[in-house]
């Protein structure tokens, strides 16, 4: 019974995705309804699993001795799976509208739904090996989505994506194997390594693991695939490359640092410092690159690079406050970045343009989209009243109270990065709403607001953005309990 609860959210979308690939639909509408039903059903399954699923590892299948698939529900799993399960149905709605005239819908929706299954697999994994298996699968199952348009550009992006992610995961594999050998297989808060035979060796293993799994979280120097991958259709960039896939990279680092190797092993070591500086560097670097980028979606992708490192920075401080900051930012950044990408997608879909200098004056034609974009941009910068402020606050507090030099340096980095963030996101809003007098506004005559299916997710997440910004006490106390290891 336990295993049924916990397996349902993985099996339902998997089977659903395969069936979407196999079945032929005469009407697009039927396929849409069918896939939306699967996704909603999956989300219900996820919530049931989170509520009633087993808190102890459930053994599902053994490949060989010591290599088996186990699932469980615990704090981070609740956060990650819960977050995904709310975002996915809305992103799906958006995808219907966005992909209305696209080709190869069958493969798109099939793999899109299958990705849900794999992401939940990563979230619910109870040990390193299981997580690793799903982590690899995640790369493979999203590859067709990245190269969906099947042109030269997307083929290149796809190759790059696979090269980086598989390569990174194989680095991580080393850490997985060493962790498992030392008894750190099953996740437990605070680390589950037994008597470690050579702690310094394990720290180096952590370094591998961090950069390996960090590849998906686009940590420097392995970030290059993420901006490239923005050639994918916007529902993919918004949900997968701002939330699901990249956050599973962060999630894997949380699991590795806090649930397998343990913060006690790492705290104060050179390796921790190296990792943290890599994150701090990335968070400034990503913002600088975003500022230089002219392509709307690639700019947001660089912003994701930067923001993922906020989370990594918090996690790597190896204090509960830091973990809290990382988790908070993981949640809130997902909401914010979803809106930003969805707005960018709406803009691109409606106008057929992709570059920022082409935005001049569009805000008056698409007021809802760009107003909500601006609110999210402010939130990402860390302006009070929006949820990004809360997470930035938690991260900065963690930086101060960690008492480490790198914490203070990170704080400075965060401030610079947030400043740059204001520059690169608000630049778009200013262009949209305040076109220079006498500037060329031709060609935007017949443009109007995006369709309602696109606006629904944007509006919903914007409301959530403000709601959490103003009143976030319950969420924060939930995250606090996770960060303290209570759940």
């Amino acid at each position: 019974m336990d295993s049924l609860f916990i397996l349902a959210p993985i099996l339902v979308p998997f089977i659903g995705g395969v069936s979407l690939l196999l079945l032929k639909f005469r009407e697009d509408r039927t396929r849409e309804i069918y896939s939306e039903i699967i996704v909603i059903l999956t989300s219900v399954c996820v919530w049931l699993a989170l509520a009633y699923g087993s808190r102890d590892p459930v053994h599902v299948y053994s490949f060989t001795d010591g290599f088996s698939i186990n699932f469980r529900v615990d704090g981070p799993a609740m956060l990650f799976a819960g977050m995904i399960s709310i975002l996915w149905p809305f992103a799906m709605l958006y995808a219907f509208e966005y992909m209305k005239d696209a080709e190869h819908k069958r493969s798109f929706f099939g793999f899109y739904v299958m990705t849900y299954s794999v992401t939940i697999g990563v979230a619910l994994a109870a040990d390193l090996v299981t997580m690793y298996v799903f982590f690899e699968m995640l790369t493979l199952v999203t590859l067709p989505l990245v190269s969906h348009y099947q042109n030269h550009e997307s083929a290149f992006a796809g190759r790059m994506y696979v090269a980086y992610c598989i390569g990174g995961a194989s680095l991580g594999f080393v850490a997985v194997v060493m962790g498992t050998l030392n008894g750190g297989g099953v996740f437990e808060y605070g680390g589950s390594l037994g008597n470690v035979f050579a702690p310094s060796l394990m720290r180096i293993m952590f370094l591998f693991g961090f950069f390996g799994f960090g590849t998906k979280a686009a940590v420097f120097p392995l970030f290059h695939w993420l901006p490239q991958a923005s050639v994918a259709p916007t529902p993919v960039t918004a949900l997968l490359h701002a939330v699901a896939v990249v956050n599973s990279g962060v999630y894997a680092v949380i699991r590795l640092a806090w649930y397998a190797y343990g913060p006690d092993l790492m705290r104060g070591s050179t390796e921790q410092v190296i990792c943290t500086y890599a994150a701090v560097f990335t968070l400034v670097f990503g913002a600088v690159m975003a500022l230089r980028e002219r392509h709307f979606k690639r700019r947001l992708a660089y912003s994701t690079v930067s923001n993922l490192s906020y989370m990594l920075f918090g996690i790597l401080l190896m204090t509960p406050e830091g973990l809290l900051g990382g988790l908070t930012h993981m949640l809130f950044h997902s909401i914010i970045k979803m809106v930003l990408f969805l707005c960018a997608g709406a803009f691109m879909h409606v106008t057929g343009r992709a570059y920022i200098y082409e935005i001049n004056g569009i805000g008056r034609k698409m007021p809802v989209t760009f107003t909500l974009y601006t609110l999210s941009a402010l939130s990402l910068t860390g302006i009070p009243l929006f949820c990004g402020f809360i997470s930035k606050w938690k991260l900065l507090t963690a930086g101060i109270s960690s008492g480490q030099t790198v914490g203070i340096v990170g704080m400075a980095g965060l401030i610079v990065s947030a400043f740059l963030c204001a520059m690169y996101t608000l630049n778009v809003s200013i262009r949209a709403f305040f076109p220079m007098r006498g500037s060329d506004r031709s060609g935007s005559g017949g443009m109007k607001e995006a369709g309602v299916l696109m606006l629904i997710p944007i509006c919903v997440f914007s409301v959530v953005n403000i709601l959490f910004g103003v009143y976030s006490a319950p969420v924060i106390s939930f995250l606090e309990r996770i960060a303290q290891g209570v759940i």
Partner: protein, 686 residues
Amino acid sequence: MFIGYLVFAPILIAPVLYRIGRKNEEARDRLAILFAFVELAVSLSLLTMQGAKLTIPYILAYGLTFEADGFRTAYSIVTSIMWAGTSLFAREYFRHEREGLSRYWMFIMLTLGATQGVMLSADFMTTFVFFEILSLTSFTWVIHEETREAIRAAYTYLFIAVIGGLVLFMGLLLLRDTCGTLAFREIFEAAEKARAENTSAGSEILAAGICILFGFGAKAGMFPVHVWLPKAHPVAPSPASALLSGILTKVGIFGILMTAVKVLFESRTFGTVVFVLGLITMFLGALLALFSVNLKRTLACSSMSQIGFILVGIGSAVFINAAGGEEAGEGLALAMSGTVLHMVNHSLLKLVLFMAAGVVVMNLHTLTLDDIRGWGRNKTALKIAFALGGLGISGIPLLNGYISKTMLHEGIVEAILCAREFMPGEQGMIAFLRIAEWIFLISGGFTFAYMLKLFICIFIERNRDDKRQEAYEKESTCMDIWSTAAVCGSSVFMVLLGQPAVMKKLAFFMTGREEIMEFHAFTLTNLKGGLISLAIGGAVYLLIVRKVLLRDGSYVNLWPEKLDLEDLLYRPLLTSWLPGIFGAIAGVFGENLILRPVCRGVLYAATVFGRALSTSMDALIVLLRKTVVRETKVRTLQSEERRSRAAAFRDQTEAALNPIISGFSFALVMTCIGILLILGVLILYI
């Protein structure tokens, strides 16, 4: 209750105004003006309920707290006066403009609420929240005209506001980490306690204070984050410039004052930092104003300079308190009163002056001094209002600026006395303060000089173009009854606040220090300071403005265009230096210079290794054949052939490598590297 109304009612009514404005513009304007006056009435009613408090818990994690004590009530009223005056004036000012006005009114109201929120806040977190809101809402004022200059200035404004807000936020977090609270009432004791318990707390609080100073200073227009101010004020519509200059800079000052008084009142370092930055701001602003040939830019630079005066006041107050403590009560009272009175004065002065500039703009649509020269010769009401404002700000006795400037001056003198009495060893400090006193007097003189320049140019001289002058003389009405009421009504304050009795009561009400009632404005020493300043101003006007800045009868700006902190430092830093540095680092450590070479190197090494292995096998065979097996003849490669084979080999390897590196095998190679590294490490450790 009333506090809640002051803060939240404008925020709630803003979208309503926007909706109404879409349908009926007249109704929107009337409603907005009515609302501004209701706001004024409500804030006046705060006078009857001193110490009123309002707490909204649970919101934004800490909750919001508000309180109305003397200083805050006074500033809430000033805010309302400013809004009432500019709203009244804006009606006519925007008469010929249709686009984007609903937006303007909406953001005016939002900013009103946020400003009241800052002025009435009872803890730093509340201050910060509303501070950020008003930073962003006032951005739309700067960009309102949507011209190239406006957009550029708006970017500068926005980015300085954002970086200021973030640094401020960091400072507040540091402060909270050390003291455990951010409430104005508790933080002083908390900081004392933290200092007593922990030796490093003092420097942490100071660091936090500097961050906060930077953050609020960015809004106040303090050097070196003043760059937005001379650019943003001229491009904004005049009613908005009056607010930007009169109130929004004071929001920054409010924060700095609270930090100085409530957190770092005992810190001489902080006092000195504020004092020095204030001096630079004061002098630089006055200098820029003197050179400027644009009416509103002169006023904007003047704002910057006056902010410098206020900062000098704060600096000397902190300095006196830190050096002298209780014994220097009188000097402290002087410096504090000078600060708060100059804040009020400057707000009201800039209200009049910017509205007068607005009258010029709405009639002539230009601000260049040469063009508007002689326009005001026959406009009596405007002339009087502008004269009152100009003379008030220059510190002419019997007008408002005189008293506050005299108090500020006396504050510096007291600081010198304090330095003599309490730290006799530090000659450098005393000498510095003496120089500072002179800089203060010279800046005051500059103020007189540039106001004289403006006044004489607009209201006394004749235009060089006679036809134009004729046209100017023909029109004698320049504003309607409402605008006249706004401009002249607000210039009454110059005279009203010029009375020492009124000022002393106001100072006592705002600071709560009784010593100030002993102050006499018109003693010989006090008059001397003012007169020295005015004499310097007159001399500067005659010698510099008339002789140097007036070439062939037209005003020229001799300030080098390139000498601009923003263009020299800030913009290149962001647009080329930072990306350059990061790009270089990324280039060195990133993909092209590390990842790819490493992969390539491994592949080469593997190929060379394999080749070496096979060659050595060949050699072995050759050796065997020559020795053991004894076959008669072995054909070895000729050197020519060998070379060409080597070249072919190299080409082949290259050709084979390229697709590998950019393809799937790249990943596998990464795996190999990982495993090789593991092997290496394992061998080393075990």
